[in-house]
Amino acid sequence: MRGANLAALVIFVLLAATPWLAEFWGGSYLTSLVMKAMILGIAALSLDLLIGHAGMVSFGHAAFVGIGAYTTGIMITEGAPNLAHILPMTIAIAAAFALITGAISLRTSGVYFIMITLAFGQMVFFTMSSLSDYGGDDGLTLWERADAFGTGLFDSDTGLFYTILATLITVTLLLRRLIGSRFGRVLRAAKQNPTRVESMGYSVFAYRLTAYVIAGIIAALAGVLFANQAEFVSPATAAWQRSGDLIIMVVLGGMGLRHGALFGALAIVLLEEGLSTLTHDWRLIFGPMLVLMVLYTKGGIAGLLEKRGET
């Protein structure tokens, strides 16, 4: 088995065992930390579809997480807490936002694409800050979690935990199939040489826009999970710093490499946690460490694991 696959299997087993492990060590602190990491993993995986496979460096991906979180928060506050309503609404809003902003952003490329997606992301951030009925800058505390189709699944941390894990696994499998499909092949080709792909008869724009919508929807679903896990939503969820974090996870994990984004998300969350218990100025260590890892591990964590797996 290839190194990355083996590592991912170990990780999924460890993740599945976390609620049980937490009874001996870490308690609910550990489970909520791991839930956060898995949610970020889902968002990072969706961003890697854009960065790693389509060559679209979006700097506004956290906006979609924010859209999912706020849709959930507002609907719960307004007395429509059933996922049967929240999910379609989230998907519809995220898809519409991705279609419109994607269609505009994709008129540009390179640095301009980065800048314009950043601008759209900030637009979401400021919109959320101005929702004074829903907490404005301070954010919105949720007094209950969403109703998981009447099952009560989200009433317990364990239920929520395994829902998040199941979503993570589903998204991993789904994206892997997508990459290997006809659609994925066109996307990967257009990253290498868009002019050539156009001249074969493909509208590169249409494929990229579709990918942008798919990635946006997945990130928004991560946002739904996030709102339920944190029981709190705030504009900070959609801030550009969060978009930057997601890019770092993708790059550190290994762009376009199997499970890379998941490795990146787990590594960042755990490093951040570990270092911040060691010292107050953990960012001073964290920053250089990141730079070194990106410089010296071509292909990120997944790249390292693949090499090991081959020898």
């Binding site: 789904l174 199939r177 499909s181 050539r196 074969m200 008869g201 509208s203």
Partner: protein, 246 residues
């Protein structure tokens, strides 16, 4: 089947396409020759849609395609190769061609089924590679091919799209004498199935392949006719063929 009508294009002060009208008939190979910088590549780009003319029309099978984006022109049946090799370096040789085949096999907005398992696509891709003796390279990364092989891969990609006409921009560029001769033979067989607009500097190839030759100088067509007529035309000799002689 392909007609350029009074095409005109400027790059700033440079009149790169000067009132060019030109036809490509079914079953023929029409060679476009001319010195470097004459505007041949620019003309190919206007036909394939990567550049837009300032004025004039491009008709393909009776429909006006002047306003269509490149991918729509490709769908309409215009296949092309590039003067500067343009392939997908990270894909295997087979996958380069398979992607072109895929465009002819229904929608590519299919998201879940594995494309490497689509035998129909793979089989046709292998057949295209075999035409150019590249079948044994199928599973190599395209970036690992030699220059000559990459030029052939370009052609295989173009053929795989089942074009109705081919635009070839210096297919022999950078090839040795022997490779050029082999490719000329291959193009002679392709000519039976595809009308070809051929831009080429290799005069042996041009005179072996072309049914008609047009000479482009400073954006203008200065001579057009059968190879023998063009060879005899003093303007064409002065503009282009003279270079070869000395």
């Amino acid at each position: 089947m392909l007609s350029l009508v009074n095409l005109d294009k400027h790059f700033g002060a440079l009149h790169v396409t000067d009132n060019v009208s030109l036809d490509l008939h079914p079953g023929e190979c029409h060679a476009l020759i001319g010195p470097n910088g004459a505007g041949k590549t620019t003309l190919i780009q206007q036909i394939s849609g990567t550049l837009q003319p300032d004025s004039g029309q491009i008709l393909f099978n009776g429909t006006d395609i002047t306003a269509l984006p490149p991918h729509r022109r490709a769908q309409a049946g215009l296949g092309r190769t590039f003067q500067i090799t343009s392939i997908l370096p990270e894909f295997t040789v087979l996958e380069n061609v398979a992607l072109a085949v895929q465009a002819t096999q229904g929608s590519s907005f299919r998201f879940l089924r594995s494309v490497t398992g689509e035998w129909r696509i793979n089989k046709r891709a292998y057949d295209c590679l075999a035409l150019f003796n590249l079948a044994d390279r199928a599973n190599r990364p395209a970036s690992a091919l030699s220059h000559g092989e990459k030029r052939l891969l370009e052609l295989a990609i173009a053929i795989a799209g089942e074009p109705k006409a081919l635009l070839l921009d210096e297919p022999m560029a950078g090839m040795g004498k022997e490779e050029s001769a082999t490719l000329t033979d291959t193009l002679l067989t392709l000519k039976r199935d595809y009308p070809i607009l051929l831009v080429e500097h290799d005069m042996d190839a041009v005179f072996a392949l072309a049914d008609r030759v047009s000479v482009l100088v400073y954006g203008q067509i200065v001579a057009s006719g059968t190879p023998d007529e063009v060879r005899a035309n003093p303007q064409a000799r002065a503009a282009y063929l003279g270079e070869e002689a000395c």
